[in-house]
């Protein structure tokens, strides 16, 4: 039997324990470092619970851009995937295609924006060609994603051009905020 330095010694069973089996206090340092996984698991659980609460099956329907700040509203409906007219303080786009400058539009005498109307008619014709075999009818839905500081002068021209091109169901894209307590919540 080996000769040991006199001092506190642990029994055979306790020597196998990680808590007590590290040797007497002041003994040799262990080469292995144990990582405590408990805080990591706790953090992961909280993140998963938060992300599940925020999960949306519909996903992002509109890509928000930095140059367009949407107005807020409480009594909103769910956004649908359809053609989007994006209007910043300076430019008008259909999806990602630039159409016209806001300053040029305001200087026009007529309500109509010819470039916008032509583009929307093209989109409508493409839709009808694509869905000719399926029998799916063109619904005339369109989303307008406009900066909140625009004047109604610009908006009325865009709405008029969309209506002339056959898009009668106009939807304003807005940031939904929770309604006041006691008021019915937004419908999907």
């Amino acid at each position: 039997m080996a000769i040991k330095v006199p001092g506190k010694r642990y029994g055979k069973r306790l020597r196998k324990s990680k808590v007590f089996g590290g040797g007497p206090p002041g003994g040799k340092g262990a080469n292995n470092v144990d990582l405590n996984m408990t805080p990591l698991v706790d953090m992961f659980v909280i993140m998963v619970l938060f992300l599940i609460a925020n999960f949306s099956a519909t996903g992002e329907i509109i890509n928000q851009s930095q140059d367009i700040e949407l107005p807020e509203a409480k009594h909103v409906e769910g956004l649908q995937l359809t053609t989007v007219i994006r209007v910043s303080m300076t430019d008008i786009y259909v999806e990602t295609d630039p159409i016209a400058k806001v300053s040029d539009v305001l200087g026009e005498e007529y309500l109509n924006i010819p470039a916008l109307e032509e583009k929307l008619r093209t989109v409508k014709a493409d839709y009808e060609k694509l869905h000719a075999s399926t029998g799916k009818e063109f619904t005339g839905d369109i989303n307008i994603q406009a900066h909140k500081d625009l004047s109604f002068n610009v908006m009325k021209r865009i709405m008029y051009s969309a209506a002339v091109a056959g898009y009668g169901n106009i939807n304003f894209a807005v940031n939904g905020t929770p309604p006041e307590e006691g008021v019915a919540a937004a419908t999907p």
Binding site: L51, K148, N171
Partner: protein, 158 residues
């Protein structure tokens, strides 16, 4: 570090420590979190459906004959007319903190209109050119909150 307990050896006593293997749960959490981060939607964007009253476009269904409710909106005030009754004028002030219009009086009156005319669902908002889009959206939102879900927007002459 988590480790596996191989169980008691023959002739030895049961060990005191119980080791739980947390590696699989960490792997599962990492995969779930990656998936949820990729599919997360951080902003709730909704829509306010409006119709264009009196404008060009394809003819819509015949509207149910209801009392015409018209709201004329300018930068300073809103005039609400219900049927043939003389319009009521609501001066519009702006909240200094949020910069939004204070529509308390107008919203209350719209709720009264809805209470008096339960079948009334439509309102036409005649808007001046200088009105901000955000203010128009705020008024549309207030109309929908008062129960007038079918909102038409029209430009004023001049």
């Amino acid at each position: 570090m988590a480790s596996m307990d191989v169980g008691p050896q023959k002739g030895s006593k049961k060990p005191l420590d119980v080791n739980i293997n947390v590696i699989p749960i960490i792997d599962l959490m990492a995969v779930i979190i990656s998936f949820l981060l990729l599919t997360a939607v951080w902003t709730q964007v909704g829509r306010l459906q409006v119709a264009q009253a009196g404008g060009a476009g394809e003819p819509s269904e015949e509207a149910v004959k209801t009392t015409p409710v018209t709201l004329r909106l300018t930068e300073k005030e809103a005039s609400l007319s219900v049927g043939a009754v003389a319009p009521e004028v609501f001066p519009l002030s702006r909240n200094p903190d949020s910069k939004l219009l204070d529509l308390t009086g107008l919203t209350g009156r719209l709720r009264e209109v809805k209470t008096q005319l339960p079948e009334q669902d439509t309102i036409t908002i005649q808007t001046e050119d200088t009105v901000r889009y955000e203010d128009l959206v705020h008024v549309i939102d207030a109309s929908r909150g008062a129960g007038l879900k079918s909102v038409s927007v029209q430009a004023t002459a001049g």
